[in-house]
Symmetry: C2
């Protein structure tokens, strides 16, 4: 199984603290890592089929505070598809003139959807297949970029059709909203004023967010397992689809 | 104007030496840089809207010898589209289950093609618009991935339709072949046995390729302006489309 990490904020935020803790988990999840940062409409995706503990790319990400309002990261323990760059999450495609980024934790069996339109997997994972199908169906349902609410409505119809094939915890982002679906395990925390200190679960590291933020900042962090010891993490329930906009959970 | 750098080889090759010289040119071309490495079917794209001389991402690329058979790089001096991540080359899309990467040097005026299918620009550049149109038309002409020869034939029909709008030097790669089109300036060199030393134009650096290669290695390097002083660089002629496969120039 893999681990997911997502950030959605109302102001560009750096992920150095959280990514440091997250990448510790790559000792066990050693078959690659990837992280996508949206910056405006642009996105950059750093992927490596080396472990996040060893990868020079991951080291650069830990040291270079790229500030972004939308971040998706993934550390991989291969289930379907070999250890290769083309099988490394997150995956990225373009739809309606926006980049879409997707990362999956889980395993889908007998999921062989008809991919008859513009999105085809490059690698061999069930995950990329699911992503291509979701985009294909979104494109069928809307002629151009709809509102986040309409997108959420369509996704709520599409996602169960994939989820019945197995475990389908995922993060999906388009630089405006971040969707999180829980099949088995996914947690989130909302950080806002007054900001406190947080202590990493996996590393002997504390950060005082109060010194790094302004009172209007809002940050949502979504992960497979809570990253810190002293914050109020909320577990999504199996089958739950959540959407985060501007660092807050939005109505579906 | 921007500068282009492409590598096509029959064996995974690192670009540290050439990228070091190339990124020196970013003092003048300071509005971002990008580099794409194919590794098997996978691709990784490093982009930054900081200059290649200052970017921590470029520094990582100079220090981390990523070995690849297909590399495309670009340093940008903005003409159309602001200095922003979404306007930074190379651009990447997927077609027929393969990644395609595109970088452009030049300026197209009044180029407003109909983009009625699956490829839409995220940023504001003429370059991304041209790339989207090329992929749209390739997709119309072939139902699935054709041979390199058939692709070259189709491109030879499509490219002049864009090139009549202005300067259209470009590199296009899909991890199998690298196409280079010259409107004004583009040079290439073929490195093969017996390998010699090369001395960078822009930096006080010499490398002896003989110590780093085997007799069967073949490397094609394509750049806007020759990178080294003592190699036989060949200038493409205006209007010429070239394709490189396995480190050699292939017939069109």
């Amino acid at each position: 199984m893999c681990q997911l990490l997502g950030l959605n904020a109302n102001t560009p935020t750096d992920l150095v603290f959280s990514f440091t803790g997250f990448s510790q988990r790559a000792v066990e999840h050693k078959d690659g890592f990837g992280i996508a940062f949206f910056e405006g409409a642009g996105a950059r995706l750093f992927v490596d089929h080396h472990s996040a503990t060893e990868s020079p790319v991951a080291q650069m990400v830990r040291n270079y505070p790229i500030r972004s309002r939308h971040i998706l990261a993934h550390i991989r323990k291969a289930t379907q598809g070999g250890v290769a760059l083309e099988n490394t999450h997150p995956f990225q495609r373009e739809l309606w003139g926006r980049y879409w980024v997707f990362a999956h934790n889980g395993n889908l069996t007998d999921f062989k959807p008809k991919l008859h339109a513009a999105y085809h997997p490059v690698g061999q994972t069930d995950s990329e297949r699911a992503f291509c199908w979701l985009l294909q169906e979104l494109a069928k349902n809307h002629a151009s970029l709809p509102s986040v609410a309409h997108l959420s409505e369509t996704l709520a119809e599409l996602v169960p059709q994939v989820a019945r094939h197995g475990t389908f915890n995922f993060l999906l982002g388009n630089g405006e909203a971040l969707w999180a679906h829980c099949s088995t395990r996914l947690h989130y925390v909302l950080r806002r004023h007054p900001f406190a200190s947080a202590h990493l679960q996996d590393d002997d590291l504390t950060v005082d967010f109060a010194t790094q933020t302004t009172p209007t900042d809002r940050v949502a962090l979504i992960v497979t397992e809570p990253l810190t010891r002293n914050e109020d993490w909320i577990a999504l329930t199996p089958g739950e689809l959540a959407v985060f906009v501007d660092g807050q959970r939005a109505a579906l």
